[in-house]
Symmetry: C2
Subunit: 578 residues, 2 copies
């Protein structure tokens, strides 16, 4: 692979680009561009920005990603979740729709870009793995509810107290019921109905654009804006201009938490979509770290031209793929359409009612609420179900960033908790075979009275040693006086740390002192290495380590035969106090 195609993935398709690919890219690029016009403006509104900034963010970032991204169908641009996170972070520092607010949103895009770029350079893309599916699902559903309800004020045509907590928004909405501007509400509900019906008829209809056109038409014909229906108003024409974002220390510090959250959440959303689409094509490879660099560059470049944070979005990527996108050229065509819109069509948006944009948002986000996943988890994995539910309610009740933070900490805490209480099975022989299985699960196993065979199903490390010790002692007590030997089937011990090596040494010494024969089997390579380093291997002796449970059992029987009634030794040993 040449230097260029290694660093600029677009060169991998440019060299072999053909007419057929162009046909697909053209159709897809135009379709997505047409979607982007209403979505971009609507999502800018979620972010607390004038709608035009959604279009600004839909130009250069798309072109940069098309050149640097490893996905060929991913449609980058403003998305609902990132817009909401932007609003959360910036609204704490400035009043929405003001100069300062806009500048901070652009600074935020710059920071997100820098963070993603650096994460990619330092190959930290794996960090996103720590967001588990239940946490993401719970978080997304809650964020969708928050976004949806945050549009109530536009739909009702009233001013509601600023809040990102659903119950506060709802209480506010109920308290302001008497101020509802009925023409606005009627327009908004018509918008929702129009989008839903158009979709029903044919999913290929650009329903949001249709709603926008109808909305503009209604306002222009009946002069609804003079009747109090709020419209987008004057939209400055022309392309975004080159402006360096303000990077003073105070703003950077205040926005850092939000920037980190957006960097990870938006990357995760983007890579998940990109993977889903790539698995249907397989004519190219995705690279998580290059994706980070591409998204980072897109945000950095966007921020220089008045863009706010963008990422690869779910719905537009799906449309892009279905409409036949084969390469990044599709995205470049979408960007071109937005550029043409900015140059020539902005006067048309003067009469666009906010209520229509709100209806576009509400239909889009309520589709993200995923209760089927919760039902599925309830049936298959109760702890993942609770994880989803807690994240959902924490996001609703405590806030966007707090919600995802709590989800991540809880899901990692659960991993730790689970490893601290490992599953330990007592084994018995499947009659007539050399296989050994858990006595709690199979009823007709042969269990010798003088031998305890245990299998520890976990890495052994500092936090689960006491649990293991207690369990083993319990099993020994249950066996009673007949017990002469213990076999530890180590096949599923994936790792031991230094505390565990200590622990095993102590355990073996103590068990031998009590007169038991102690044998191990199926120790995997990395664990055997650590045992060698810590002297544990010498203590146990390789002659007491076997390839299978059966070999260890045979060795135990041999040793027992050599000392058929070795009870004297044993009862002496148990009295020794070292």
């Amino acid at each position: 692979m040449s230097f260029f195609s290694r660093h600029i993935p677009a060169f991998q398709w440019i060299a072999t680009y053909d007419r057929k690919q162009f046909q697909g890219d053209l159709a897809a690029g135009l379709t997505v561009g047409v979607m982007l016009i209403p979505q971009g403006m609507a999502y800018a509104m979620i972010a607390g920005l004038p709608p035009i900034y959604g279009l600004y963010a839909s130009t250069l970032p798309l072109i940069i990603y098309a050149l640097l991204g490893t996905s060929r169908q991913l449609a980058v641009g403003p998305v609902a979740m990132v817009s909401l996170l932007t609003a959360t972070g910036v609204a704490a520092l400035a009043e929405p729709n003001t100069e300062t607010y806009i500048m901070l949103a652009i600074t935020l895009a710059f920071m997100v870009g820098a963070i993603q770029f650096l994460l990619g350079v330092f190959r930290l893309g794996f960090l996103v793995n720590f967001l588990s599916h239940p946490v993401v699902s719970g978080f997304t559903s809650a964020a969708a509810l928050i976004i949806g309800f945050s549009q109530l004020k536009h739909l009702m045509g009233v001013s509601l107290p600023k809040s990102q907590k659903v119950h506060e928004i709802l209480i506010g909405a109920v308290q302001h019921m008497d101020q509802i501007h009925w023409p606005t509400l009627l327009l908004g509900i018509s918008g929702i109905a129009l989008i839903l019906i158009a979709r029903r008829i044919d999913r290929r209809i650009p329903a949001p654009l249709l709603a926008v056109i109808v909305g503009i038409g209604a306002v222009s014909v009946w002069h609804l804006d003079q009747g109090g229906v709020r419209v987008v108003g004057e939209v400055p024409g022309g392309l975004p201009s080159l402006m360096f974002p303000q990077l003073d220390g105070a703003s950077l510090k205040a926005l850092l938490g939000t920037a980190l959250a957006i960097s990870l959440v938006s990357f995760m959303e983007s890579i998940a979509v990109a993977k889903a689409i790539q698995s249907r094509h397989k004519d190219y490879e995705l690279d998580a770290n290059k994706e980070l660099i591409a998204l980072g560059s897109a945000n950095l470049g966007g921020a220089l031209f008045q863009g706010y944070p963008v990422t690869g979005g779910f719905s537009r990527t799906a449309v892009n793929d279905q409409a036949g996108a084969r390469t990044g050229l599709a995205s470049m065509i979408s960007a071109l359409l937005i550029i043409l819109t900015l140059l020539f069509l902005t006067p048309l948006f003067h009469d666009l009612p906010n209520a229509i944009l709100a209806s576009v948002i509400m239909v889009a986000v309520f589709g993200l609420i995923d209760y089927t996943e919760a039902i599925r988890l309830w049936k298959t994995d109760r702890s993942d179900f609770w994880m989803l539910l807690i994240t959902f309610f924490a996001t609703l009740g405590l806030g966007i960033e707090e919600g995802i933070g709590i989800g991540v900490i809880l899901s990692l805490g659960l991993v730790i908790y689970r490893t601290s209480r490992p599953h330990i099975a007592t084994l018995g022989r499947v009659p007539g075979s050399s296989f050994y299985r858990n006595v709690d699960r199979f009823s007709d196993l042969e269990v010798p009275s003088d031998l305890l065979i245990l299998r520890l199903d976990a890495q052994l490390y500092f936090a689960n040693l006491n649990y293991c010790k207690d369990h083993i002692n319990e099993k020994i007590r249950e066996k009673g006086d007949a017990l002469r030997g213990i076999i530890l089937n180590a096949e599923s011990i994936s790792h031991i740390d230094s505390s565990a090596a200590h622990f095993l040494a102590d355990l073996v010494r103590e068990l031998r002192q009590r007169g038991y024969i102690v044998l191990l089997n199926s120790v995997i390579g990395p664990v055997r290495d650590k045992m060698g380093l810590t002297g544990l291997l010498d203590l146990i002796g390789t002659q007491n380590m076997f390839m299978s449970v059966q070999e260890a059992v045979d060795a135990f029987d041999d040793q027992r035969k050599k000392h058929p009634a070795d009870d004297s030794y044993r009862s002496y040993s148990t009295q020794v106090n070292p």
Copy 2:
């Protein structure tokens, strides 16, 4: 077991108490009591309290623990580490040796008692397992250095700026070299020498008490206090009085972090010592949750009688055991000795020089610095070594609580990181056997060209799925076109979560689509359950799951024979785009 002996463990030994036990308990109780007098006063000084409070804390708590504790040799009382933590927490709120400071220290003891009691009642003793040995070792060494150097001012007889950071203390000491009070320094160094020499001669000599007696003698005979040697001064006689600690909201909130840290750290120190001693006796059982209740009650009771936080200490417990303690009566005898001291001997302490108490502390804590553990870990477990070192320097540089906090977070983070990059082995057959081993570790294994046998050594969960997928794809690529089947040896997969079940289903589907035969073997019970719940078992089919690698290999060979040259099927399948 009766109601009483279940809840008051002392009843377990009271019933069978005999003369021989009493002889041991008497000797041990007196020995420890004699140690407690100088240690209690010295440790109170570390805590920023007048020395008499160290004696107050050595009365009722010992008796309560003797009744409720499950260890029969544990010597409870003031210890260096907890005294230091007390100083850290309270000094942020008040000036040492003032009324407010003393009241806050007592409130802290009450909080520690309440927390430990509740942890015990709710059976949360396992929490202490999350403090790994390297973290504790690094933390203890750093705390010992801080405690030791904090006594420099008493040893030099100067006032140093208040600090708990070793480098700041040392810089302060150097800057105040010109103010050194030479008689004080001489006395302190003599104290250190006396203790070290006396110990050399016979470890049974109560060296600290000897230093205290010599120090008092020197001051009385030569009137050193009139020459500027600082002494303990007027010590109020009599027993501590019943005083309810102040529990206002502000104090409770300000002390909560320290109280939690002390609760866990002191319990960990105590249970570690208790376990070490119990393992040499075995005539009784320890119960972590009852220990928490006993220590909690000791602190609660102590706090009602002007006590500051106590726990089971390392050195006195060892002495108690060696001197023959058989039951809790030994501790009661120690407490009695302290009570008699408070009643009749306090006037003697007027002339006790602070420098002698400082020498007692310095000898005690520098023995806690454990560099051999660091060397051992460097050789056996590099990541545990770094854990120790980072905790050590974080404690020295950032502070006591920050140090242990960082250590705990890092060590749990490492567990997570390790589980996110599991070991995956490619297996080959040991010639002439039915055993399969890692091809990277054994050189002469038989590896079929058309079959890939993988063993995943980890729980499979959300954070390691991508890593596993990448690894498996990598191995499939390496095998090239000859590959026809994949066997997943699941023996060491200890757990799968819902994301992993999804992942496995996708993986199996994808591999089959690419034309590979996919077989599993040795799936353990809990994993099989989860596979059943999520429908994965049906997808894979029980006919494709085996008890051992060899059985799976035989099944693969059978299926291959049925379709000996099934390449047409395979190359068709790889072109399918679903």
